[in-house]
């Protein structure tokens, strides 16, 4: 393992999924997902059959679906309880997360049965609808994010602990400064301060600043590509030793870009959790109020 690779072996937090795909397990990952999805679909079908049956028998379908939805809402919050309360450590968090995920899908189906239209008419009811839909949308994004983003993070190298991004950003910047200083020591009459000028005018800000916020929404490496192309264009003005330093600088730029990508992806996951949690809190309050209103005006 060379020095660069060794230096960027950030931390050993990468979760291997090999154990999930182990054919010797009773359920591998694919089978487990299929089974859970089928079970969720079956639950939705049963709920819909009950919904139709109650409606056909002149029962109050809104009470049935509303009570189911309200119960699901509180069951979904139990994942947070499991994570935060040490005394409630029944089952692994991974299991709770899977239950949370599929129960969320079930809740969306029950919501579709409960509401007469996607967004209700009344002022309060429309707010409640929007809250649920937002939570549901963030949950669906969470399913996508929890499936796709870890793979992308893994493809970017070892996973970096979120609070150490600033440390590695600083160290990469320091390494870049050292490289430029070495290039300066190799200056000749033909390439007078080419590397230094280029570094100061184009690369230094890239290393010293934090990644731009828009990378949270749109993660692309255009800056890295542009800088690396410019370094290659300097080759004709550099001696072989300086070109070697230029190559090292390109490696640092690539590492920094990968670090920024990993930061953006991790930030996305973490922000999603916070947003999902905060909207869920508002949804719980509104749901309790909604239940109170329903009980109040049903008479």
């Amino acid at each position: 393992m060379d020095a660069v690779t060794r230096g960027f072996k950030f931390m050993s937090t990468t979760v291997s999924r090999d154990h999930l795909n182990n054919p010797k397990r009773f359920f591998n990952l694919g089978s487990r997902r299929t089974l859970a999805f089928v079970f969720t679909q079956a639950a939705i079908l049963v709920a819909y059959w009950l919904y139709q049956t109650i409606g056909d028998r002149l029962g109050r379908t809104s009470s049935y679906t509303g009570a189911t939805l309200f119960a699901c809402l509180f069951a979904l919050t139990l994942l947070g309880v499991r994570k935060r309360l040490p005394i409630a450590k029944y089952g692994s968090v991974a299991t709770w997360t899977q239950v949370h995920l599929y129960m969320g899908l079930f809740s969306i189906a029950v919501y579709a049965m409960h509401v007469p239209r996607l967004i209700a008419n009344g002022w309060f009811e429309s707010v409640l609808s929007l809250l649920f839909l937002t939570v549901a949308a963030s949950g669906l994004y969470g399913i996508y994010a929890s499936r796709a983003l870890p793979r992308r993070i893994t493809s970017l190298g070892d996973e970096v602990q979120f609070d150490r991004f600033h440390f590695y950003r600083d160290k990469i910047a320091e390494a870049a400064s050292v490289l430029v200083a070495q290039a300066q020591s190799l200056q000749s009459s033909s390439n007078d301060a080419v590397m230094l000028n280029f570094y100061q005018s184009h690369v230094q800000s890239f290393f010293q600043n934090k990644p731009r916020r828009w990378r949270l929404l749109w993660d692309q490496s255009s800056t890295r590509v542009r800088l690396m192309q410019q370094i290659r264009q300097l080759d004709r003005y550099l001696s072989p030793d300086e070109r070697m330093l230029g190559g090292s600088l390109s490696a640092l730029i690539r590492r920094r870009d990968e670090l920024d990508s990993q930061w953006a992806l991790q930030s996305r996951l973490r922000l999603w959790v916070v947003v999902h949690l905060l909207i869920t809190m508002a949804l719980i309050v509104a749901s309790i109020a909604h239940v109170a209103v329903v009980l109040r005006y049903t008479r």
Binding site: G59, R164, M244
Partner: protein
């Protein structure tokens, strides 16, 4: 700048690649780095050679303290705490908002309800249907004792009781439990199976309005929408589609006894084709009688003048000209005539009682006649000569009111009874009694006391009142003993006054002079003298009769309507058999009092929402379809005389007369309807043809209702 020689590019790339693969030593993260901490040091002093890092409170332990920053974990916990605080803080504002009806209203009302409540405040509008609470305590609990037991349905019925009585509103189909059981058992007998049919989640004896009518779904929401499965939850014969499983119609819609009888079959196949040889050839066109009304719906019939007069006017006039006899003097023996006195000679002979059907409308307990013999007479037996004479005299003296009182006492509405005798002139009766009874005074004669009381001179003469001479005068004390002071109410007692009744009557109440007798050869001929109809005296039969004039004769009409009101309707059967009345009832079967449980009425009513059926049908949308615009495409006339016959049955299943006749129309098959009425076409909802709420009051049409 000296460009590098291009020939050396290969070596340049190798140098660059070597540099890009070259490793750069980077330090490992500090050993005291704590990933789960809420704070981190910005200065990098944390480590074996520095401090231990910021504490959980975020304070730097060094003397020259730096400003630690929150880690992601720290920021997440902070956000969670702030979120919880915001959530708790929002509870009270949310509860406050919930007390505002405009906030919590789940959706707009339907247009009809919204218009009714538009002039109310939001709170009052809610309270119209929901319990109103003013405080949070009330909000979460029962509003109070005064409203205990008051349900939302009660509030619905506060407005809707006009169409659905409160007493029947909560019953399924507004039918009493016993009646539903009867229907269910009848259905089970027809299908040879008895199922419980009690799968509904509502109590069929306590169905709330909101079980079906769901509000707050917007102005265009249908409050009456029901799906087929909801109907079939209770109904035993369940099926998926109208086209597959719905029972055949049977005789529907021809199983209803009409109010106006019209045999389509004989008219279409016999009478109209028979007119081809005449100068006025008739074309049997359904639309001639069933014309579109203002609503677009087809009329059930047209007027007599438009549809029937051309052929039926003359026969009808002939039939109703037979008229109705009000009373007729019976032939009695000489002995009986002598005991009665003043009996006409031509009515003396071998005794022969006379049955006058009209008397069944009149004879009853009466207080209008002074003689109690009439009041005690049985209603079904013929009147005796004395009763007949007494009634004639009363009628002559009191005019129409004597007969009206008789009918009123027999249960007929006074207004209707007045219509019966509206055309009866007392002078006809007076003339008749004078002629038949020998000029007997028939006018009411005021009693002597009345005369005295009416004499202002006497009344105001204090001399008479205070005159002791008069008071003690025995001549005046007992007026009954004095022939001079005879009871002038008994004119027969004074032969001098027999032919001078005007002397005993004051002013306008003076009886008319006796009408000179006419020769019997000058018999009154009603056909010539009163072709338009009216009451007349028949000197040949010694009867007062009524001659009908034309269709819609007001007197005959009033008599028939009265027949429905008399207390003893069975006694009217003979009256219904008289030619004049029978000719009316022959077509207006709905007015025949001998047939019970039939929709009463002179005209054929529109059946689109006929109250005696749970089904509804409108021709309007069907007439727009070219393929069935011709009435005969659905209502085909039955041409097979030897085919099946139908028993005239009323709409409620009771046998009409038990008569059978050839079927007018071919049965209306369900297949014809099912061509269009499928779920993907014109729809096959139960509620398209069936009504849930059966009409009220149910007793009007439901036989043997026992509630």
């Amino acid at each position: 700048v000296n460009p590098v020689d291009p020939s050396a590019s290969a070596s340049n790339n190798q140098a660059f690649d070597a540099g890009s693969r070259r490793g750069i030593e980077l330090p490992q993260p500090p050993g005291l780095d704590r990933p789960g901490d809420y704070w981190r040091c910005q200065t990098g002093h944390v480590g074996p050679e520095g401090c231990g890092g910021p504490g959980r409170a975020g304070r730097c332990p060094l003397a020259t303290a730096c400003r630690p920053r929150r880690t992601w974990n720290g920021r997440r916990v902070l956000a969670t705490k702030l979120g919880l605080i915001a959530m708790l803080a929002s509870i009270l504002p949310t509860l406050w908002l919930l007390t505002h009806p405009s906030v919590v209203r789940p959706g707009n009302l339907t247009t009809a309800h919204a218009q009714i409540l538009s002039n109310k405040t939001a709170a009052d509008a809610c309270a119209t249907c929901h319990e109103q609470a003013g405080t949070f305590a009330q909000w979460f609990g029962a509003v109070g004792a005064p409203h205990a037991g008051v349900r939302q349905t009660d509030r619905c019925l506060d407005c809707h009781h006009e169409t659905i009585p409160k007493s029947t509103a909560r019953w399924a189909h507004n039918l009493p439990p016993q009646k539903r059981t009867d229907i269910r058992l009848a259905s089970a007998a027809a299908t040879a199976s008895l199922q419980t049919g009690q799968d509904a989640w509502v109590d069929s004896d306590d169905v709330q309005c909101n079980a079906c009518h769901r509000e707050h779904h917007g102005p265009d929401h249908s409050l009456t929408s029901m799906n087929n499965q909801q109907c079939q939850t209770c109904h035993e014969q369940s099926f998926d589609r109208f086209a597959d499983g719905h029972p055949e119609f049977g005789d529907y819609p021809y199983d209803q006894s009409p109010s106006v009888s019209f045999d389509h079959r004989t008219h279409a196949l016999k009478h109209y084709p028979g007119s081809a040889q005449s100068s006025k050839r008739l074309e049997f066109d359904c639309r001639q009688c069933h014309q579109p009304m203002a609503t677009g719906e087809l009329s059930r019939s047209v007027s007599f003048e438009v549809g029937c007069q051309e052929c039926h006017d003359k026969p009808l006039r002939t039939q109703i000209a037979e008229g109705i006899t009000l009373f007729q003097l019976p032939i009695i023996s000489r002995q009986e005539a002598d005991s009665i006195g003043g009996w006409p000679e031509i009515a003396i002979g071998s005794p022969e009682s006379v049955t006058v059907p009209m008397q069944s409308m009149l004879s009853s307990v009466s207080s209008t006649l002074s003689n109690s013999s009439l009041s005690n007479s049985p209603t079904s037996s013929p009147w005796s000569a004395a009763i007949t004479r007494e009634f004639a005299l009363a009628l002559a003296s009191q005019g129409q009111s004597a007969a009206v009182d008789q009918m009123t006492a027999n249960g007929v509405d006074r207004e209707l009874a007045t219509k019966v005798f509206a055309a009866l002139s007392p002078q006809v009766i007076s003339d008749a009694t004078s002629r038949w009874f020998g000029g007997i005074e028939v006018r009411p004669v005021q009693h002597s006391e009345d005369l005295l009381a009416g004499d202002s001179l006497l009344a105001s003469d204090s001399l008479l009142a205070e005159d002791d001479l008069l008071a003690e005068d025995s001549l005046l004390a007992d007026d009954e003993s004095d022939d001079l002071l005879f009871d002038i109410s008994q004119p027969q007692s004074d032969p001098l006054l027999m032919n001078q009744p005007e002397l005993l009557s004051g002013g306008g109440s003076v009886a008319p002079p006796s009408i000179p007798k006419k020769q019997s050869s000058e018999r009154f001929e009603p056909a010539k003298m009163i072709p338009g109809g009216g009451w007349y005296r028949d000197d040949l039969t010694l009867a007062i009769r009524y001659r009908g004039g034309s269709h819609d004769d007001p007197t005959l009409r009033a008599i028939i309507e009265s027949m429905h009101q008399v207390k003893t309707q069975t006694s009217t059967h003979d009256l219904a058999q008289t030619l004049a009345i029978k000719s009316c009832l022959e077509c207006h079967v709905g007015m025949d009092p001998t047939v019970v449980q039939r929709p009463m009425g002179w005209i054929e009513k529109n059946r689109t929402l006929r109250p005696d059926r749970s089904t509804k049908f409108s021709h309007v949308p069907h007439l727009n379809i070219a393929s069935i615009a011709d009435c005969k495409s659905c209502h085909a006339i039955s041409r097979d005389e030897s085919g099946p016959t139908v028993t005239q049955v009323s709409s409620h299943g009771d046998s009409h007369t038990g008569e059978t006749k050839a079927r007018e129309f071919m049965p209306l098959g369900k297949a014809g309807c099912a061509t269009c009425h499928q779920s993907h076409a014109a729809g096959d909802q139960c509620t398209t043809c069936h009504r849930y709420h059966l009409p009220s009051p149910i007793t009007d049409w439901l036989p043997n209702a026992d509630f």
